[in-house]
């Protein structure tokens, strides 16, 4: 027990580890904030970099980068409407309107505190119930992932704005983009129009940078000469009363985040979508309507995606299986450092587990410190004249896109999506459903076909499995209830009937 405790506090007491965690967190915030620079990439660069280091030092740096990076994505989402990472897409929905109202400082301040709360709750769940959660995650069969993806699709009504038909079109468009490339099962090219460059598919961050970053840059050209909004930067640290007010919501969304994060097939991006949807369904009187700068719409995704970090470590530390791309790279680092990550990791080297838990908590403390300092300077980004900001955004989008796979073709695609996004925006289409489709499309396709293959391509067997397996039955019921109770769908239907 005292051993456990000493491992837990190891990172807190060793000045070198303390420094590395701090450094990692700070670097992570910037990695996360810049679209295209991903935590996965930073962590894999660190592998060669920390090759000869002590394993604890390398892990401390990676934990810091991970925690900081997941949070950092919200910075640019709020300030520029360009999510730095897929898990911050949802943050832009309400964060950017807040910046437009001159409340970028408060928005960043609140999202920092909420990220830390989410991160700490996620760490707590990791420490307390990792083996239990891992066993639960293993219960999810391909058909259950399919049901989760279907549940995710129902969010379209939450994200569509006024026109559901446009929302559905956008989701299908996004999903088609997500399916471009080689078929996973047969290796046949799909929707590639004969191009070899497209065999590898279109990376969803490319779509994201195009639809959000470039489209926004073009859109802003309309008010090139408009004087930027003056940002209020006096009250950046949210008052305790505000934190307490959102605490119940943040606890609920943290739980969503940690569970979705622990499932090896889903991560922070899907967690934040579910959390946003949850907030929209349960909060009756948001501070502003959702999508127009509701603080609730900021709290939900930010707690969920940071809680998902703790969740992603669950399968990694208990089973040696990655919970997401970042933990996959960290597993690789363990291998290179001569450890054998697997189910025995927790038994043979329990210090890795407790060290990581303590380190995650520490990184969240640093996140609070670094997140709350420098907000004033950051908020000024919004005040930079558009004539300078717009070209710089485009350059950043180019560098960011190129960084993903070092592929120039993807940069052309990014610009193409930017122009498409501009026109979609002009004619009342929302970007949220497109991204929802890009993220969920491949998951739907993959899991549906796994589930079908598992039952020997029999549709009847497939449907039967959905209601005979307890877990699947729960998910199916939830979907049915959501579908029935979906107020926008209901009102839409009733309005259709009344009209005729």
């Amino acid at each position: 027990m005292s051993d456990t405790f000493s491992f837990l506090l190891m990172a807190w007491l060793d000045p070198q580890l303390l420094l590395l965690t701090a450094l990692g967190t700070l670097a992570g915030i910037y990695v996360g904030a810049i679209p295209g620079l991903s935590v996965t990439m930073a962590a894999s660069i660190l592998i060669s970099f920390t090759f000869s280091w002590d394993i604890n030092n390398a892990l401390a740096l990676m934990v810091g980068i991970y925690v900081g990076g997941v949070y950092g994505g919200s910075r640019t989402a709020i300030l520029l409407n360009i999510p730095g990472a897929p898990s911050a897409v949802v943050t832009a929905f309400d964060g950017y309107p807040l910046a437009q109202r001159g409340e970028a400082g408060q928005a960043i301040g609140l999202s920092t505190v909420m990220s830390v709360i989410g991160g700490l709750l996620g760490t707590l769940v990791l420490a307390g119930s990792a083996p239990f959660l891992a066993d639960m995650a293993l219960e999810f069969a391909p058909r259950d992932y399919f049901l989760i993806a279907v549940l995710g699709l129902l969010l379209v009504s939450t994200l569509s704005g006024k026109s559901l038909a446009r929302g559905i079109f956008s989701v299908a468009l996004g999903a088609s983009i997500g399916l471009v490339g080689m078929d996973m099962v047969t290796a046949q090219p799909r929707l590639t129009m004969g191009s070899m460059e497209l065999l590898g598919g279109i990376h969803y961050v490319v779509v994201m940078i195009g639809l959000f970053g470039v489209a926004e840059a073009f859109y802003q050209l309309h008010n090139l000469t408009k004087v930027p909004i003056k940002q209020k930067v006096d009250k950046i640290i949210p008052p305790l009363s505000m934190v307490l007010k959102y605490l119940p919501l943040s606890i609920r969304t943290s739980i969503i985040g940690v569970i979705v994060g622990a499932l090896p097939g889903t991560g922070g991006d899907i967690a934040s979508l579910f959390a946003y949807d949850h907030a929209k369904r349960t909060v009756k009187n948001p501070s502003s309507p959702f999508g127009e700068g509701a603080y609730e719409g900021l709290v939900a995704p930010e707690t969920a995606n940071n809680a998902a970090v703790g969740g992603a470590y669950v399968p990694m530390l208990t089973l040696g299986m990655p919970g997401d791309a970042v933990t996959a790279v960290i597993l690789g680092a363990l291998v290179i450092h001569g450890l054998n990550p697997g189910p025995m990791l927790m038994i043979e080297t329990p210090h890795i587990f407790w060290f990581t838990v303590g380190n995650l908590a520490l990184a969240n403390i640093f996140l609070l410190i670094f997140g709350l300092t420098g907000i004033k300077v950051f908020s000024k980004v919004v005040e930079v004249p558009k004539a300078l900001l717009i070209p710089l955004i485009l350059v950043l989008c180019v560098v960011g896109t190129y960084s993903i796979n070092s592929n120039m073709t993807e940069v052309y695609w990014m610009l193409g999506f930017g122009i498409l996004g501009y026109w979609l925006k002009v004619f009342g289409f929302q970007m949220g459903p497109v991204i929802l489709g890009v993220i969920l499309g491949p998951l739907l396709d993959e899991t549906y076909r796994q589930a079908m293959s598992s039952v020997g391509d029999s549709g009847g067997q497939f449907l039967l499995a959905l209601v005979t397996n307890p877990l699947s039955l729960v998910l199916t019921t939830v979907i049915a209830l959501v579908l029935l109770g979906q107020t926008p769908a209901k009102t839409w239907l009733t309005s259709q009937f009344q009209r005729n």
């Binding site: 004249p385 485009l394 350059v395 004619f427």
Partner: protein, 158 residues
């Protein structure tokens, strides 16, 4: 709400028709994967998605029956003019052109040179002169990108 006609943007109807055509294109491309798909084949989802796009774009077009143009717009020609005026303002066209030229230039003129030129030219254009400060800001931006991407993150830029 059902009583009042919704406003339609100039060009919206054309755009929605283009979406319909695009959906048909996706459907054809999806059909090419493996024809009429079975319950579990590479083409099942692409064909299904294309059909969803097709159906929803038809719904969008049908909804135009309940929408009207801005009464100040007199006819289709006038609508086209308003559309052009709104979305093809000179600075937007120039910026788009510069952006495309910039991307094309990266491959043969290297990233840093073309980025510097792109930033400098757009800054000067958008800010109506102010050459010196534009050149300086571009140089600072390039230095930051170099430090961050090439030195720290070792991203190999073309």
């Amino acid at each position: 709400m059902s009583q009042k006609f919704e406003r339609v943007q100039p060009g919206e109807k054309v755009f929605d028709w283009l979406l319909l055509l695009f959906s048909i294109g996706v459907l054809l491309e999806a059909y090419r994967i493996d024809g009429i798909p079975s319950v579990n084949s590479p083409g099942s989802f692409p064909v299904g998605l294309a059909l969803v796009m097709l159906a929803s774009s038809v719904v969008i077009l049908v909804s135009h029956r309940r929408k009207r143009r801005d009464p100040r717009i007199r006819n289709a020609l006038h609508e086209a003019q308003v559309f052009l005026h709104e979305h093809f303002q000179p600075h937007i066209v120039v910026f788009t052109f510069l952006a495309v030229a910039y991307l094309a230039a990266i491959v043969w003129a290297s990233f840093y040179v073309s980025t510097y030129l792109f930033l400098a030219v757009t800054f000067i254009y958008f800010r109506h002169g102010r050459v010196v400060s534009s050149l300086i800001i571009s140089a600072v931006a390039i230095a930051v990108i170099y430090a961050l991407f090439t030195l720290v993150f070792r991203v190999y830029l073309p």
